[in-house]
Every structure is written in structure tokens, then in C-alpha cells.
């Protein structure tokens, strides 16, 4: 028991939480933008995979990690735009289109990886991002190494949260986006283009999902493998529900999930609690399912057709 307590109060545990949470924060905030505009982007899992693949390949050939991130963003935006074409322009089922986008993107990732790298006997790898300490702040005992000795992408992830809150709640653009998600007819009669707002929401979501995928292969690991997303995208869908469609709560959900994950890895390595580790993995989902007050945007999943009631 002492062993696990001493481990939980170690700096490494909290550093791990932040590190694990980063991709979840990016993708969850991304999903949030799409859902607030009224589109459930189930393409998330595949978009993350495709973003990871293009990000990695670009970084591999240009030896520039940031170009890789840019490529991942663009890939995500492209696939999200396709999602927009299906669900906004054509008004098709968001569930079917989303799963379709996931399958298509995963297939693309697989296909292009094989074309580019063939079947390498050892995984091609890159030099991953390394933590960058923020001067002065990183010397604060305890908090310093946890919060201020992370990679640049992690700082960006945690800047994205207040930025998203500001955009959504403090700008006219955010008001339009939210209105389109709640009552597209009202937005339309006020002169707001529903489809333009939904496209924007989706494209932002794609960009953030692309970065989240790239983070997994360029920070948490240094090579691309096919199972690298491993359901993390689906978790983000649950985290948005968990966070009641708000950026702060969703980010808090991501942190909570990361904490449970970091904790279960430590519990497994000790022999104190003899529970199957799957129980811990299940916890955030249980919470998401128990969210009684489902405050989903009212127009979520409903395609908007201008002259239809």
C-alpha cells in the first residue's frame, strides 16, 4: 500500500497524466466544435489515424516535426470537409457518414503507408518531440516539472481550451455556431448560413483531431503503427458527453480519464488491489452513461434543409 501511495505522490504520476491527456484534449475540443454546430463527427477515430499517418510521413521525409503537424492538420480538415459534404450539403445520416469517414480514413492511412514505406522489416522512425521547459516556471518545486516541462504541443493543447471557451461564448461567431446547433431555423432567419457554420465547426474539429493523432506518433512514440489510435477517438466522443458539451468540463474529463489510465498502469505494476484493470478503463464511460441531464445541442444529428420545417 505504501508503495502505491508513494508512487501516486510522485511527480512522474502527474507528468504522465498531463502527457496522456494531451491528445484527448485536442480531439475532444475538436469534437466539441463539430457537435456544437449540430454535427456528430464520428469520423474522429479514422481522422486521427490518417492524421497520424500523414503527420508521421511528412516529418519522416522533411525532418521537420512542425511540417508534420501541419500536414496532420490539413489531412484532418480535408476529411472533415468530406464529412461536411455528406452530412451538411447532402444531409445524410451523421452516424452512417461518420462511420464511413472513419473506415475510409483508416483505409487511406493503411493504403498510403504501404505505398510510401512498403513493408519495412523494422519500423521507420523519427526523432520525436522532446519536452521544452519554460524558464523560471519550471523551477517551481513540484508544479514546475508537472506543468512546465512538457512538449510544446501539450502547452498548445491547454491553450486550446480557454481559446475554445472564448470563441464559443464570447464572440459573435461562437454565438452563431451554437445557435446553428440549437435552432438552425432561427439562425437561418437571422441571416446566418447554417451550412457555412457547420462546415467551419467540422473543419476546426478535423484540424484538432489531426493534431491529436500526430501527437501519438510524434510525441508519445516515434513511429507509426496501424493500431496506434486504439479507440482513443471513441473515448473523446464519450468525453464530450461527460463534459456536457462545454470546453472546460470536457477538458476536465480528459484529465480525469488520463488520471485513471495513469493510475491503472501503476496499480497493475503493484500487487495491492487485485482487480481486473478493465474495471478502471471502464469508469469514465460509466460516468458518461450516467450523465442524467443530457444537454446535447438540440439540433444535433438533424440535417438542416432550408425550406423544410
Amino acid at each position: 500500500m505504501e508503495e502505491i501511495i508513494s508512487q501516486i505522490f510522485q511527480v512522474g504520476f502527474f507528468t504522465a497524466i498531463i502527457r496522456i491527456a494531451t491528445p484527448f484534449v485536442f480531439a475532444t475540443i475538436g469534437e466539441l466544435f463539430a457537435e456544437r454546430s449540430g454535427v456528430l463527427n464520428l469520423g474522429i477515430e479514422g481522422i486521427m489515424m490518417f492524421g497520424a499517418m500523414t503527420g508521421f510521413s511528412t516529418a519522416y521525409f522533411t525532418s521537420s516535426l512542425w511540417l508534420g503537424i501541419l500536414a496532420a492538420m490539413l489531412t484532418g480538415m480535408l476529411m472533415a470537409a468530406l464529412m461536411g459534404f455528406l452530412t451538411v450539403s447532402l444531409g445524410l445520416s451523421q452516424h452512417v457518414s461518420g462511420i464511413g469517414i472513419t473506415m475510409l480514413s483508416t483505409g487511406f492511412a493503411f493504403f498510403f503507408y504501404r505505398i510510401i514505406f512498403g513493408q519495412p522489416s523494422t519500423l521507420p522512425n523519427i526523432k520525436a518531440f522532446t519536452p521544452v521547459g519554460i524558464p523560471v516556471l519550471k523551477d517551481i518545486p513540484w508544479i514546475g516539472p508537472v506543468l512546465f516541462e512538457q512538449t510544446t504541443l501539450t502547452y498548445l493543447a491547454f491553450a486550446v481550451v480557454p481559446l475554445a471557451a472564448f470563441l464559443l461564448y464570447k464572440t459573435p461567431w461562437g454565438l452563431n455556431l451554437r445557435t446553428v446547433g440549437e435552432n438552425p431555423h432561427a439562425a437561418d432567419s437571422a441571416g446566418v448560413s447554417v451550412s457555412a457554420m457547420r462546415y467551419q465547426g467540422l473543419i476546426i474539429s478535423g484540424a484538432l483531431m489531426g493534431i491529436a493523432g500526430a501527437y501519438l506518433v510524434m510525441v508519445q512514440f516515434n513511429a507509426f503503427t496501424f493500431g496506434v489510435i486504439s479507440g482513443r477517438g471513441w473515448i473523446c466522443i464519450a468525453l464530450v458527453v461527460f463534459g456536457q458539451w462545454g470546453p472546460w468540463k470536457s477538458a476536465a474529463g480528459a484529465l480525469l480519464f488520463a488520471m485513471i489510465d495513469a493510475l491503472q498502469l501503476r496499480l497493475q505494476a503493484s500487487s495491492i488491489i487485485d482487480l481486473p484493470y478493465q474495471i478502471f478503463l471502464m469508469m469514465p464511460f460509466v460516468r458518461a452513461m450516467m450523465a442524467v441531464e443530457m444537454r446535447a445541442p438540440a439540433a444535433l444529428l438533424i440535417p438542416f434543409r432550408k425550406e423544410e420545417r
Binding site: Q7, A16, F221, T225, G227, L265, Q268, A269
Partner: protein, 341 residues
């Protein structure tokens, strides 16, 4: 406008299309002519559930490529075949006249066996956790617990904290027996060793494996058995030692990876192809061909560690290895799910 578009399409695309057709025809023709020249070789197909990069699958693939080069077999494969498609792909190869169909059937065990019954003239030899079936379903598996035991002995001698870590996919027999062999090898040479086991719940999630490894390192582990990708990177970052798995992975961290068990499918594939060529039925367990004695597994070369590893440790490993090869020492097979000490 429409008219012009169509005419452009006709003008630009159709000659190109014709060229493609011509090219395809040429390929088929050449292919058709080349095929009879390869007489003597048999047609072998592999059906894999995962991408070819998966370490387990890759060892089979590498051996088959070697068989293509050295035994003149005709070899083709399908990767990432999910259970839903497994039967269709297997039947496809069987109908096309492949004499030997191999691969891994862990997730499609029953499907593979059912398909095999319909093609008694074809040999099916699959990686499997269970037994062979008459008349034509043979099995093999990664019986590499012997070098895993030897690696454990090295780890037991090299640890300073007396804590060893194992990061593995999930508690299935194939993984358990390696993890247990590693730990018992370490405990044989160092009574104070404690082993930590973490499962990541997936075969292909390097970021998670890396996190699991970092957690073990924080808890004091200083030699880690990297059953999955991702662990060696964590060890490199934190300056602790690693034991690789499945293939020689020294190149991932020459100063981090001491050695590790290597699975060599060549003896198995060579034997199976020889049997099929001779028309001998192959409904048997080929697991024995993965043992060290048959050359189906071995300890990876030390590379950089050849000069760094204490001579006494090397001598100890050599002695035990010789005993294993002589058959005077058997590494126990323990397939129960390991628990952290």
C-alpha cells in the same frame, strides 16, 4: 459545354485507358508465361489477421520470404484480414490452387478449421493456441520460452534495484509463458528479484506500452522485458536496460537492449514446405520446431553488450543454453496469468 466535356474525356481518357488495358494484358501474358517456369515450387499463401508489422506475424512472413528465395515456392499473402473476411480469403486461395495455406488463426480459430475441412487436398498450417485437426489442419506457435528464460537470467544478474518489469499485450497463453519464463529465469539466479507485470490490453498501442513502461520504471524497475513495441523507447529515455522480444531489436537502442528471445520460423516453414512438396499430410503440431534445439528460437546476439556484459554472466548463460540444447534442462511452461510481486 457538356458536349465539349464529353469530347475532352473521350479524347484524353480513352487513349490512356487503352494503354492501361494493353499494359494489363502484357502483364497477364508475361505472368502466364512465367508461371510454368517455376515448376517444382509449390504455391503458398498466408492469411494474417494483423498488419505485417506485428512482431509475431512478421516472423512468419520473413521465413516465408526466405522459403521463396531458397526453396522456390510461390508466395503471396493477405494482411489485416478481420474475422469476418477470414473464411472468404482462405477459400479464395484454396480455390485458386494453393497447396499450402498458412497464417495466424487466433481470432478466427473455428472459422479457419471449418474452411480447412472443405478442402482436404490443401494443407492448412496455422499459428494457433490449440491443437491440430485431421485430416489437414496443422498448428505451430511461438515456443520461445527457453531464450526468454535465458534473458531472465541475464536480467536477474543485471538489475541493481532487484525489480524487473514486463510490459505485455494481454494475458493469453502465448504471452504468459514468455513472461513467466523470463521471471523464473531471473529468480533462479537472484532470489531477491521481484517481477512487475503490466498488460496494455492491445497488441498494437506503442504509446500505451511506453506509458506502462514509464510507470514501472518509476516504481523502481531497471530491466524491462519489452514484449511489445514502445517499451524500449521508454527505457532509452530513462536510461534503464531492456530485453527485446520476437526479433533482434538491438538497433532500436544499441546501449539499452542487452539481448532478447528471437523466434525464427524458418525451421518450421522449411519442414512444412518439404512435407507438402512430398505430398505428406501435415495435420500435426509443429510447435517443437520453434524450440531452441531445432533452431526455431535463440537468444539475440549481444552486439554492443558483448564487451559490456560480465564474463561470468555470459558463461552462466552459455552453460544453461548448452544444458537446454542437450535436453538436460527444461524451462518450465507456465501459462497461468502472471501477477506482480
Amino acid at each position: 459545354m457538356k458536349q465539349t466535356l464529353i469530347s475532352i474525356v473521350k479524347r484524353k481518357i480513352s487513349p490512356m485507358f487503352n494503354k492501361v488495358l494493353l499494359f494489363c494484358a502484357a502483364v497477364f501474358l508475361v505472368g502466364g508465361l512465367a508461371a510454368p517456369l517455376q515448376a517444382g515450387g509449390i504455391k503458398v499463401a498466408a492469411v494474417f489477421e494483423t498488419p505485417i508489422e506485428e512482431p509475431w506475424v512478421n516472423q512468419i512472413h520473413v521465413a516465408l520470404l526466405q522459403a521463396k528465395k531458397e526453396m522456390g515456392i510461390e508466395y503471396t499473402w493477405s494482411e489485416s484480414v478481420k474475422s469476418a473476411d477470414f473464411a472468404r480469403i482462405m477459400r479464395d486461395y484454396a480455390e485458386k490452387g494453393y497447396q499450402l495455406i498458412t497464417g495466424d488463426s487466433f481470432g478466427a480459430e473455428r472459422i479457419a478449421r471449418r474452411v480447412a475441412r472443405d478442402y482436404p487436398q490443401v494443407s492448412f498450417v496455422f499459428g494457433s493456441g490449440i491443437g491440430p485437426a485431421e485430416p489437414n489442419f496443422g498448428v505451430f506457435d511461438n515456443w520461445i520460452h527457453e531464450p526468454a528464460y535465458l534473458s531472465g537470467m541475464i536480467a536477474g544478474k543485471m538489475t541493481k534495484t532487484n525489480i524487473l518489469g514486463v510490459v505485455a499485450a494481454m494475458p493469453i497463453p502465448e504471452v504468459n509463458r514468455l513472461s513467466n519464463a523470463f521471471c523464473s529465469g531471473a529468480k533462479e539466479v537472484n532470489k531477491n528479484v521481484r517481477c512487475k507485470f503490466s498488460f496494455i490490453g492491445s497488441f498494437f498501442d506503442p504509446p500505451k506500452a511506453k506509458e506502462a513502461a514509464l510507470a514501472q520504471i518509476e516504481a523502481g524497475a531497471d530491466v524491462l522485458y519489452a514484449e511489445r513495441f514502445g517499451v524500449i523507447e521508454a527505457c532509452k529515455e530513462k536510461g534503464v536496460l531492456a530485453i527485446s522480444n520476437m526479433s533482434d531489436q538491438s538497433s532500436l537502442g544499441p546501449d539499452t537492449v542487452i539481448t532478447g528471445p528471437v523466434w525464427d520460423m524458418w525451421p518450421t516453414i522449411k519442414h512444412v514446405v518439404t512435407l507438402v512438396k512430398a505430398g505428406v499430410p501435415t495435420a500435426q503440431d509443429f510447435g517443437g520446431f520453434s524450440y531452441m534445439g531445432k533452431g526455431g528460437s535463440y537468444l539475440a546476439p549481444y552486439h554492443n553488450w558483448d564487451s559490456k556484459l560480465p564474463a561470468s554472466v555470459k558463461a552462466m548463460v552459455e552453460k544453461r543454453k548448452a544444458e537446454m540444447l542437450d535436453g538436460t534442462f527444461r524451462a518450465d511452461i507456465d501459462e497461468s496469468a502472471p501477477k506482480s510481486d
